[in-house]
């Protein structure tokens, strides 16, 4: 029986100043991570509306990760502190609804942490892949 290999789809929101630069650094250093990870650039992690996260799940994402500057290092001084609260509450709510908690993550990656970026993406992709397809928060109309 031929089974198409399952590949998770992961959306990574990266803040322009730290994490996107960290992702670039991972590239500069040729540190590989799965191609399943697709990065969307935002000015700051605090630009990420919980609705974007839900939208990604609706459209078939299997995991959503937000990356921002380390707390205290936000380019806009305080954006990531708000991100931290918003996502803590959102993730807790998703968990409350029975959505697998491994599908969501927030990670602080500085512009100097190319290796951390790659390692984080490898780890996250592996965890999401282990869960298999996102069934609980999918919109069948949007399935590929």
């Amino acid at each position: 029986m031929q089974v198409k290999e399952y590949k998770p789809l992961i959306v990574a929101f990266c803040c322009n100043w730290c994490s996107y630069a960290g992702a670039d650094l991972a590239g500069n250093n040729r540190l590989s991570y799965p191609a399943d990870v697709k990065i969307i650039r935002v000015p700051c992690s605090c630009r990420v509306n919980p609705m974007f996260v839900l939208r990604a799940f609706q459209r078939g994402a299997d995991g959503v990760i937000l990356c921002g500057c380390h707390p205290g290092d936000c380019h806009y001084t305080s954006g990531n502190y708000y991100t931290r609260r918003r996502m803590a509450l959102l993730f807790s709510m998703l968990d409350y609804l029975g959505i697998e908690k491994e599908r969501t993550r927030v990670e602080w990656v500085s512009a100097a942490e190319g290796a951390k970026f790659a390692a984080t993406m490898n780890d996250f992709a592996e965890k999401v892949a282990a869960l298999g397809e996102n069934k609980r928060l999918e919109d069948l109309r949007c399935k590929r």
Partner: protein, 664 residues
């Protein structure tokens, strides 16, 4: 509908090695809005850019997607290209298929697949891009300098020299600051007054500079180029414009027992006073805490003796509002209190003094007229012990003192020791040090001269206890190199107290929304590359408010801050970042949620009249974003409950389009 051109870059083999660029440009050709798609070896090269320009003209493109390296690398390049081709630079989006694709994936199939998806996301975004124009705001061509010490004076003089008006706000009755209290300056030993007072006079005489002495800043509103500042001018009970500074009042004032702060309380002044002979402005000030007339209405002597009629017991505090384009913080430092270090007996003996007090004791205008006499009995001290690092370099767990090195103490102590030996060769001078830190031009040479030519006893070790007994100060100390405990009967002990930022700095930082470190020093926008700017646009740092500094360093920083201010004031208009937030007033609730998360205070509210569907009108409170202040983080867009707030360049619809494109 947009007419989008897609340009896929090979970056030599950097991209083309792992991504089938032809497949990418072919795949993107079929995306909505794309009318042209191609690929080329080096898109950023002159030839590549010309290719883009030609395509814009040929295909009447309205938007451009470049699939290439990171936007952090060449976004600016391609925006310029677009502008040169006649379309708005913000109609360009970059798909990062090098750093985030070809360099991290090894397999051609997956690399190409991902590159196509990233390209589709960029196309989806450009479809929703709108031309953006950076906002402009005017610049008030006037600077405010807060603090009138050497840092503030130098900054003000340099700004005025470039032709811009400057105001100095100084909380004391005179400018001059700490430097006015110093005797000589290292490493050249010029007299501090001789080099400072001419600058003070320059300030007074410069018609571009106004001095608000005995004043403080009480409110700051606005933003870079457009600050609205309120200055509180304390009542000095003397009309500044009439007082001639003759000093008759200070001589005749019957209340003469006021501790003289200029001499750090080592002598007294009258209740009406001029801090020192070269004060600027040279006008008298009445100290309301001591003046009998102000306290109980009994006296009035100064008013009688003032020939000019300058005394005004009814004077009130005055509030001045002024607009400024730039603000320079130059609030300086103070020595820390010695209360927690009484093993050195500072509170128990008048003959244990701080280094700043020592400056006054050796200054010709000081309480002893420059003769080195110890405060308790005015006798000449024959043995003097200097203690370095009192309260500096303390570990936080010791719960007293500061963690940093105060930087100036090693040099001034060498100066004090040297000058003492020079003037009074019969005096034994000991300096207890942990390390002698002398990085600076001619600094180590200076310290070596103190040791080698002037015979100062430098002892590696620390003083543990000072015990006043009889007319001696019994100093118990360690000599680490000799491995001995020393017992010295000293006549005078001088403590090199750590320095800390002035107490006015923290409330000021709050007003300015400027950030501070845990020690209350102002933080710089970048510790190496932007050392004289605060992270808050339009606020600059000068002198010891940013960290411990000696005079040469302070003056350099003052000049640097001035040049940054001049650079700002020289512009007629400030061009902002066009990717800023803006609120849709029809949807805005006026709920103030966005304002609370804005780190820049860019959002204000106004009441606006709206026509309702039933033809009535209603007043609604709505948010207004100041594009000159907004930095474009987007925090407000998420906080906004109704979704009225959106971010240009990273709009909700654009990000959602990217999400959809990726997840398709």
């Amino acid at each position: 509908m947009q007419r989008i051109g897609v340009f896929v870059c090979w970056c030599g083999s950097n991209i083309a090695g792992t991504v089938d660029v032809q497949a990418v440009s072919d795949a993107l050709k079929n995306e909505p809005g794309v009318v042209f798609s191609t690929n080329y070896q080096y898109m950023c090269s002159q030839a590549g850019q010309n290719m883009i320009k030609d395509a814009v003209a040929e295909h009447k493109l309205t938007g451009i997607v470049v699939c290439s390296c990171s936007p952090r690398m060449h976004e600016a390049t391609f925006r310029k290209t677009a502008a040169a081709a006649g379309i708005n630079p913000y109609m360009v989006e970059i798909a990062n298929i090098r750093e985030q694709c070809s360099w991290v994936h090894k397999d051609m199939v997956t690399g190409t697949e991902k590159a196509i998806i990233l390209g589709k996301a960029a196309v989806a975004k450009v479809n929703l891009n709108t031309p953006l124009t950076p906002g402009e705001s005017p610049v008030t061509k006037r600077a405010l300098v807060i603090g009138g010490g050497i840092a503030g004076i130098q900054t003000a003089l340099d700004i005025a020299d470039a032709g811009f008006p400057v105001d100095i706000v100084e909380k004391k009755p005179t400018i001059g600051g700490k430097m006015a209290q110093l005797d000589k300056t290292f490493p050249t030993l010029d007299c501090a007054a001789c080099i400072l007072t001419p600058k003070m006079v320059d300030v007074a005489q410069n018609d571009k500079i106004r001095i608000f002495s005995y004043s403080e800043v009480t409110d700051v509103k606005g933003f870079v180029g457009n600050f609205d500042v309120t200055i509180k001018k304390h009542a000095r009970y003397v009309k500044e414009d009439i007082c001639t500074g003759c000093g008759a009042c200070t001589e005749k004032c019957p209340m003469k027992k006021v501790p003289n702060e200029f001499n750090l309380g080592m002598d007294n002044r009258s209740a009406i006073y001029i801090p020192f002979a070269q004060a600027v402005p040279k006008v008298a000030t009445i100290d309301p805490n001591y003046c009998n007339m102000l306290k109980n209405g009994k006296c009035g002597v100064c008013s009688k003796v003032c020939a000019a009629g300058a005394i005004d017991y009814k004077q009130q505090d005055e509030f001045i509002e002024e607009k400024y384009g730039a603000i320079v913080v130059a609030t300086g430092f103070n020595p820390i209190s010695m209360d927690k270090f009484d093993e050195f007996a500072y509170n128990q003996s008048k003959d244990v003094i701080t280094s700043l007090e020592f400056e006054r004791l050796t200054n010709a205008a000081g309480p002893t007229a420059g003769k080195l006499l110890r405060p308790s009995d005015l006798k000449h001290p024959h043995t003097i012990v200097f203690v370095q690092c009192v309260g500096s370099r303390c570990d936080a767990c010791a719960e007293k003192g500061k963690e940093y090195c105060s930087k100036i103490c090693c040099m001034y102590t060498a100066k004090h020791a040297m000058l003492t030996r020079d003037k009074y060769p019969d005096t034994d001078v000991y300096v207890f040090y942990i390390d002698v830190r002398t990085p600076g031009k001619n600094f180590d040479e200076f310290y070596r001269r103190a040791v080698e030519e002037y015979g100062v006893h430098y002892i590696k070790g620390m003083v543990g206890k000072v015990t006043p007994e009889g007319d001696k100060l019994k100093v118990q100390a360690s000599d680490l190199l000799a491995n001995k405990q020393l017992h010295i009967d000293a006549d005078l002990v001088v403590l090199a107290a750590a320095i800390e930022p002035d107490k006015s700095a923290r409330p000021l930082a709050t007003m300015l929304t400027a950030s501070m470190d845990t020690n209350d020093f102002f933080t710089e926008a970048h510790p190496k590359l932007r050392p004289v700017e605060s992270p808050t646009a339009g606020v600059f740092l000068s002198g010891a408010c940013q960290g411990p500094k000696d005079i040469p360093e302070t003056v350099s920083q003052a000049g640097a801050a001035a040049s940054k201010v001049i650079g700002l004031l020289a512009k007629d208009k400030l061009t902002g970042n066009p990717c800023v937030a803006s609120s849709n007033e029809l949807m805005c609730n006026g709920c103030s949620t966005c304002e609370r998360v804005c780190p820049y205070g860019a959002i204000t509210y106004e009441n606006k009249e709206f026509r309702m569907p039933d033809r009535t009108t209603a007043i609604r409170r709505i948010a207004v974003v100041n594009p000159a202040v907004c930095q474009g983080c987007g925090c407000c867009t998420v906080a906004c409950p109704s979704g009225a707030m959106d971010l240009r360049g990273f709009a909700n619809s654009q990000i959602i389009a990217e999400v959809d494109a990726i997840c398709k």
